[in-house]
Amino acid sequence: METTVRETIKNTTKKHLKENNGLLFGQCLSAVGWVGGTVPELTEKDGLVELSMADVANGGIVAGAGLSKRRPIYVIRYQGFNWFNASIILNYACKSKEIWDVPCPIFIRGIAMEGSIGPVAGSSQHSIYFKMPGIKIISPMTPKEYLIAYNDFMKNDDVMYVSEHRGSYGNSEELNDSIADDLDLVLFPISITRFEAQKAKKQLEKEGYKIGIANILWIKPFHIKKEWEKAVIKSKFGGIVLDDDFTQGVASNLAYELMKKTKKNFEVMGLKNKSAGFSKDTDNLPPSYKDIISKCKEIIKKKK
């Protein structure tokens, strides 16, 4: 059986605790499901540490642990909890190296999911971190990408926000870019929208459209690959940045960078500017493949 993202996280974490004297902090880690099966069934003796429910303080406790040589991993079960957890991490851990020359590396596992879970627990919140200095943001959706994130963390001494999505945990396949010189549009999807982008591309191609995909793994620093730039410049209608967060954060910022570089038009798709309710009708979900298809057709029609 191929290794899934879930198993990759679990195995990497086990190694981190058992072989690297690492720590893993979080709330209710050992409760039902061990965080979607991503946390190894270990104890505090092994470095698996249960925190209390004081979320703001917990961010501080983990920042303090970051000052030791033990490179804490911090599990934030729903990304919305970052509104409380991120304050001391962003204001202390992320600035420590620059102000005091004291690195404070932390690997923050922010976990997203969606669908009838209301205004806090749903979707990604990586935009909270985006504007601040001293942080790297990555959103791995495949086993290999997860290892890229972890290895980069171990090689350097940065604070890293890892924007995970439960929808990727069962995935064992790599998601490759598909880029060409004669595209109508290039999709730049982030997080869970990468899977929907694939579906949308397939469907649109059946209908005769030429759609490219440039997968955004690194959100910060955001590096525009040469081949992406070339494909967009040669494309007919530019691109769309797709996100699992509100559009007025990461998505708009990356679209701006892409627009500046390529002088082509960019649109953004992500969560709507409204609070999510629990019912199906009031929810606020990331763009589905159907939404993406409609948007692509709308852009192409308008510009033709």
Partner: protein
Amino acid sequence: MNEKFFRLKTFEKASYCRYFEEEVIKNLKNKNIKIPTYVSAGQEFIAASIATICEDLKIKPWIFGQHRCHSIYISFGGDKIKLIDELLGRKTGCTRGMGGSASIASKEIKMFGHDGLMGSNGPIGVGACFATNHPTIVFMGDAAAEEDYVLGGLGWASTKNIPLITVVEDNNLSILTEKKVRRNWEMSDVAKSFKMEGYNLNDDPIDLLKHSETFFKKPCLLNVNTNRIYWHAGSGMDGDKTFDRYQEQKKKLGEEAIEIDKRVKNEIEILWKQQLEKQ
């Protein structure tokens, strides 16, 4: 530890802190120092006593102070020249001019910087202490202690039984708002309710020594009542009636203290003069 030795050693440390701060005041007034500056004159016996106790225990703790931290830095052996340079905004300062007065740090004495959000050093100190199991001291003000995250961190420190001392330097003021306006409870009671050792005491060094038995054996909190002589920031004074522990101790200790006072005053004045002459 011999009580007289302890008193004199602590007085000497306090003397360095006091005369350092007197020079800071002069240089604030003549505008050599151009940044917001938090003077700790009046409160120096807290850090001085605890640093003397740590030296006697042969423990070099990790230290987490907040904005009013010159006395902590000096008492635990921080390089005074580097602090002068820091306050003057020089690259040779203890945090290369980045930290100013409020966010000083020193790798040599394991003093970690403060981010400017009061009380954040509470949970940060708890996390560092837990991860290393190394003796750790968190110093904060009576206002910072009210931050929700300080309380959350303290509760967890008690649960994990870590070698942490939390020192609340209780000068009764949050900028100028008195404690009784802000709350009707004491931090020592909060500590006790978290099932850790909690004490409410004065900044008399002997009082601090008496409460040091459990230091680093289990988590404890000392709420130490003290007095801030100068304004929250800057060089102004609210009046000259503030009780001054330094003068009280000098009088109590007599000749030997007067000698120390004179020697240290001279030494610190020369140190500042020399640093100011360097460009």
